[in-house]
């Protein structure tokens, strides 16, 4: 049981690191990575709550585990959407710079 407490504390560490990365990182992709670290940390706390709730023949309470599975898939969808926006933003900025430059050339 003490093993899971140590892992839970590691999860808390992940939360702190994830928050630091989310707030301090300028690069959007790096910030998204930090989001996933933060999410991972929070889900570890879920896992710890599950492990503590073991009983009735289960090694861990199934409800938090089900929630974490849903949470991981939501986190991935968010990452995919955010990354797509970041890529699209970079492309849009290039296009607008190109238009601005071409407009300047014509002007």
């Amino acid at each position: 049981m003490t093993g899971s407490i140590i892992l839970a504390l590691a999860g808390a560490g992940l939360v702190g690191l994830g928050l630091y990365g989310v707030i301090m990182r300028e690069n959007a992709l790096h910030r998204i990575l930090a989001f996933n670290v933060l999410g991972g940390g929070i889900f570890i706390v879920f896992g710890f709550a599950a492990r503590r709730g073991a009983g009735a023949g289960f090694a861990a309470d199934p409800v938090p585990q089900a929630l974490v599975i849903t949470g991981i898939v939501v986190a991935f969808s968010a990452t995919a959407l955010a990354t797509a926006i970041v890529v699209r933003l970079a492309a849009a900025r290039d296009e607008e710079h190109a238009d601005a430059r071409s407009a300047k050339d014509e002007g």
């Binding site: 939360v15 929070i42 959407l81 955010a82």
Partner: protein
């Protein structure tokens, strides 16, 4: 399989056939109905999709009204256990007075915005099927957020809302909008994760995620409850753009196309606000709520005064309205110190409760009308610089009227719904001896008056000779006027059914 028919008192006074319908399944229907629209929109052509979306919006309004009527007639909240499983194991849907009113509000405003979106003529103003898919998911997310009783289901509802709202911001694909959408998404994600962390701590302490059960089991004296509620509140405050966490709202709501910004500003922002109130007026133990209420009220005051001041100083019309949204959502949090979270309410507390939620509803109608009107004015004049709005009254008369009437409700001038809500909050504040809230409500009205009248005065001026206008069809301007008038009509609802908002108060 435990069978659970919602306890439904068939009122003996011979109501319509509707009384026969058990309310329970309708709660689930109102959530999944909009999702059914994804099929025609993905598979069939844009015309069929748009038509299907509008019929589903109409059906949604009908179902929401039936639910509201049944809750009103029976006087008890309609509860429905999904799959027949009772909490803490299963998920329960609960429609009490407030959530059924918000259901009807969001369905009505959604229909209004939908009709406005269909009037887009050419390619530039008409919307691709993706807009309809995203707005249907917004509707479904909203209904779930208003009805769900389970903290994790509310998390999924918030995510559904965020994933549908973010692409709405950058539908036009310009760099500035994409940047606003990215900031909105990342900040909303940060909020969701903090909310999730709070939810897991609540689960670890009480063993359930159901708001009702958790509320009973939460120990008021343990530090963990405080930290969990603080995390959830901070997460929801970030998603609700409460002062000082409003950085994403103005660029996102101002950058979106008119129908989308109306949807965002009037409906999407209401879900996290409603959840914050559900947590502090339903989940939190009484004395913790009493201690945290002033903090949220002070943040609300900051929102009203600071964002109102910033709205005054804006030069672009859409940014002004977006800042006004950030300001107006502060009013709701002024209600928290005036309402004790448990036990029967005294008259002033009932007034504050009704005033706060009436403000949410009237703000939704007024803000949707103002954003649609601003969109049409920007289309007519080609820009939305406030100083150069001269001639807007000739180019889009109905839109300027809609903006002014919506502004009336925002300022809290009679006979609008905003006025009734403002008077209720004022009366409650004065009767409970909390004068600073009364002063803030009045100052908010002054600031709102400032920025609404400034725009109206500029719009009424004569245009410069050189200005050229695009002719806008009356049909396109009508919808904004209809919603603005609805905000006014809210003021005429006689006071005693306001008790409806108190039905099923936790």
């Amino acid at each position: 399989m435990t069978q659970d028919h919602a306890s439904f008192l068939a009122d003996g006074s011979g109501h319509l056939l509707l009384a026969g319908l058990p309310p329970g399944p309708l709660l689930a229907l109102v959530i999944i109905l909009p999702l059914a629209g994804l099929v025609p929109l993905l598979l069939a052509g844009p015309r069929v999709g748009e038509w299907a979306a509008m019929t589903l919006a109409g059906l949604g309004l009908a179902v929401a009204t039936i639910i509201a009527l049944q809750v009103w007639w029976s006087g008890t909240p309609a509860i429905y256990h999904l799959g027949g499983w009772r909490p803490p194991l299963g998920i329960a849907l609960r429609a009490d007075g407030v959530s059924s009113v918000l259901l009807v509000m969001s369905a009505a405003v959604f229909c209004g915005i939908g009709l406005f979106a269909t009037t887009g003529r050419d390619r530039k103003t008409s919307f691709p099927p993706t807009y309809w898919m995203l707005s249907l998911c917004v509707a479904s997310g909203l209904n779930l957020a208003f009805l769900a009783q389970d903290l994790f289901t509310l998390y999924v509802a918030l995510e559904l809302l965020t994933f549908a709202a973010v692409p709405l911001v950058c539908l036009e694909g310009k760099a500035a909008q994409l940047e606003a959408a990215l900031t909105y998404l990342l900040f909303a994600l940060l909020g969701s994760l903090l909310y999730l962390l709070g939810a897991v701590l609540i689960y670890a302490e009480t063993g359930t995620l159901d708001i009702g059960l958790a509320g009973q089991r939460l120990a008021a004296d343990s530090a963990m409850t405080g930290i969990a509620l603080a995390l959830m509140s901070a997460g929801l405050a970030a998603k609700a753009a409460l002062f000082p966490l409003y950085l994403w709202l103005p660029p996102a709501h101002a950058g979106a196309p008119p129908a989308a910004s109306a949807l965002l500003s009037s409906l999407v922002i209401k879900a996290p606000i409603f959840l914050l109130l559900r947590i502090w007026l339903g989940l939190a133990p009484a004395d913790l709520a009493e201690r945290a209420a002033p903090v949220l009220a002070i943040l609300g005051t900051g929102a009203i005064l600071f964002c109102g001041l910033r709205a005054l100083g804006q030069t672009r019309l859409k940014l002004l309205i977006a800042y006004s949204t950030a300001a107006q959502l502060g009013y709701v949090f002024l209600m928290l110190p005036l309402v004790k979270s448990s036990g029967p309410l005294t008259i002033p507390e009932a007034l504050a409760w009704t005033g706060g939620f009436l403000h949410i509803v009237s703000h939704a109608f007024a803000k949707a009308a103002m954003f649609m009107a601003a969109g049409v004015i920007a289309e007519a004049l080609g820009h939305d610089r406030i100083r150069a709005l001269g001639g807007a009254a000739q180019a889009a008369p109905l839109s300027v009227a809609a903006f002014a009437i919506g502004g009336l409700s925002l300022m809290g001038l009679p006979p609008s719904g905003g006025f009734v809500a403002k008077v209720m909050l004022l009366t409650a504040a004065i009767q409970q001896g909390v004068p600073w809230i009364a002063v803030v409500v009045l100052a908010g009205g002054l600031l709102a008056g400032g920025y609404v009248l400034r725009v109206v005065v500029c719009a009424l001026q004569r245009p410069e000779a050189s200005a050229t206008f695009v002719q806008i069809s009356l049909r396109r301007q009508a919808m904004a006027l209809v919603l603005a008038v609805a905000a006014i009509v809210l003021g005429f609802i006689p006071l005693e059914p306001m008790g409806f908002l108190l039905v099923g108060r936790p």
